[in-house]
Symmetry: C2
Subunit: 389 residues, 2 copies
């Protein structure tokens, strides 16, 4: 029996719109065929969120054909048929003999497809940043009539400006994020293990909010005293104590989309130092959001933050944020002073103001926002305060 289509996160017209943008970019770069191998780009152009990308697979887009073709490991083809918006006959499963085979892999099946469809010649686009050098060498060797054109990040630049449908999905993710942060406020207590608090928060992120479940587990960082200076650890085997500071960063996930959020918690009265940093950071955050409008640049936003924070006597070394959407970080625009990207409505950013100041002290706060016609709209509804427990 054939695998049926599952419920689709977006209507067909939305995917065709995205594909049109990619095809326009292909035309601009005089590319006839494109192989998409970055997993977030595959999600964007098809709806696929299964975790099969640890072996070679790719979405093939041709200017001549409306729908893409997906070449994947045979056991993963049913999930693709179920999740991807296009006709299931366009999902091609390659045989298991290409797995853990020192001589061939799934990209040989991709190359065979390109040859059989007359796409292995002329200028062919590849997301070379997502490919191992040995794979690029294979494409070069087995497609001698093709010119390898680097298309890395081109789809990510198209992803930067969201549709209203995508914004709605990110808002669903944001509601889940908020529910997780509120759950953290309930469960973080002296004597509680960090892992037990993480379990409660992550379970909340999966259960979701407003009847919509989380669809995946994204990055999750719980960095508590004496590790408040670290940004990227899951949690430790320690327990919370009176006086502990806890820095949280996580997001709910809807169909691959996230809406990241950071908040700092304090068990008991926060220290003067923490209060002073917080005051400066929130002032900076508000200045940054006030600088957001179509026509302003990413650099303007970062400059507004940095200037305000400096007035409060602090500096932040890491950038002030980055484009966000599917799979968290988009590798395109950064909220940093030298980034000249011009803001447009419905671009989405994680204004990430984590500030890891000393080896023994860091602080976090952030907002995910979209650019509106006249300013910025943040997705979280939580107050910008140190959550004192």
């Amino acid at each position: 029996m054939a695998m049926a289509k599952g419920p689709q996160a977006f209507p067909r017209a939305e995917y065709l719109r995205r594909l049109s943008s990619v095809k326009a970019e292909m035309e601009r770069r005089e590319i006839n065929a494109l192989l998409v191998t970055n997993s977030a780009d595959i999600t964007y152009l098809s709806g696929y969120t299964a975790k099969s990308g640890y072996v070679p697979e790719g979405l093939i887009i041709s200017l001549e054909v409306e729908e893409p073709t997906f070449v994947t490991r045979r056991c993963d083809a049913p999930a693709a048929m179920h999740q991807m918006f296009f006709d299931s006959s366009r999902v091609i499963g390659y045989p298991e003999a290409l797995i853990a085979n020192p001589h061939m892999d799934g990209f040989d099946a991709v190359i065979d497809f390109l040859h059989h469809n007359g796409l292995a010649r002329g200028r062919v686009g590849f997301e070379t940043k997502s490919l191992r050098s040995e794979s690029i060498e294979k494409f070069r060797t087995r497609m001698p009539e093709a010119a390898i054109v680097d298309f890395s990040d081109a789809v990510a630049w198209i992803r930067l400006t969201k549709s209203d449908l995508e914004i709605a999905v990110m808002q669903e993710a944001a509601a889940i994020t908020d529910a997780g942060m509120l759950r953290a406020r309930e469960v973080i207590r002296p004597g509680v293990r960090e892992a037990d608090a993480a379990a409660e928060v992550i379970a909340t992120l999966i259960r979701g909010a407003n009847g919509k479940s989380g669809t995946d587990v994204a990055h999750f960082n719980l960095c508590a005293s004496p590790r408040s200076s670290t940004p990227h650890i899951r949690w430790s085997e320690d327990v919370f104590r009176n006086g502990s500071q806890i820095n949280l960063e996580f997001s709910g996930v809807r169909h691959g989309y996230v809406s990241g959020l950071m908040r700092t918690f304090s068990i008991g009265q926060p220290s003067d130092r923490l209060c002073r940093v917080h005051e400066g950071e929130v002032a900076g955050l508000e200045a940054a959001l006030a600088a957001v409008k179509p026509g302003a640049t990413c650099g303007d936003v970062a400059t507004a933050f940095n200037k305000t924070l400096k007035k409060h006597g602090f500096e932040k070394e890491t950038r002030c944020g980055y484009a966000i959407g599917i799979d968290w970080l988009e590798p395109t625009a950064s909220l940093k002073e030298d980034d000249r990207t011009v803001l447009e409505p419905n671009m989405t950013f994680h204004l990430m103001l984590g500030n890891w100041i000393d080896e023994d002290f860091g602080y976090v706060i952030s907002e995910t926002f979209r650019v509106t016609e006249s300013g910025a709209e943040t997705f979280s509804r939580l107050p910008r305060e140190i959550f004192q427990l």
Copy 2:
């Protein structure tokens, strides 16, 4: 104030033993310096499990020096100082100016370190499989006196045979896995959302077992009717129903190590087809385990499974398993018929007998085991049955 060392998952002598094995392999290949960039290899050689590897970082091993050096983004240096077994002075943070910079990145800091320490010449080992082609090009260009030697998977081959300390940690992970599977048996019921069951199971995996918490969330696949033919989806927004079949694959995590397990659940009486597949698969599983002993090959194990399954009228296309340890799959030995790897005591494998038979039907069962002096020892204590609910 300096960041203090956290509790270490393994004693210093264990890391030095691992480093000695790597250095012996470097000597064999006539390499003076090695750059380790694969995240599982970094964990293996240092204890580091923070999630900072989405920007360039690397562990540098020199034959002349006992301890490695870690070059990472400055904000991630405190976590490395906290988690890595070696002296914190050997953690070097590179400036934020190298992030989201189109001209330079963290590998420029790595190259600077190699130059300043006389390691940028002669034969230098790189894990090229974990590097983008543009990074390899950068190493070539900026280190003209060095010969780039591919060291990909060499550390993974050393990881294949575990120490008794590592086995103990994998057994801790296995106890957590079992707790998660038993929780699944409690919460999967008709009318329950897949996400709500996943939330309960994942929370259990984080809370841990026997007083030892899970330290991370690993792969998690919940593939329920009508998606039992898919191996790699998280869960869907659907609810379980009477007659639903649910295929689960997940693991607890301890310090990066996992012990994967698959079991099939049925709400109500399993179908005849499911029972027949199960019977053949369990017979195959037992035949495979009986074939495990030092001196036998991976191929012998796979052949034992395949022959037995065939007697029951079924076949399985995907390989029968793979080496497992840190970050799940190790890219070395496979349990497939043509794999001639000779088994040695304390090699660990995920005997992964998931069988995605038709577009509408799949079945899963697995065991993680170690090779003993005379056979195989499985880590899970759960029965090899279809869990009927």
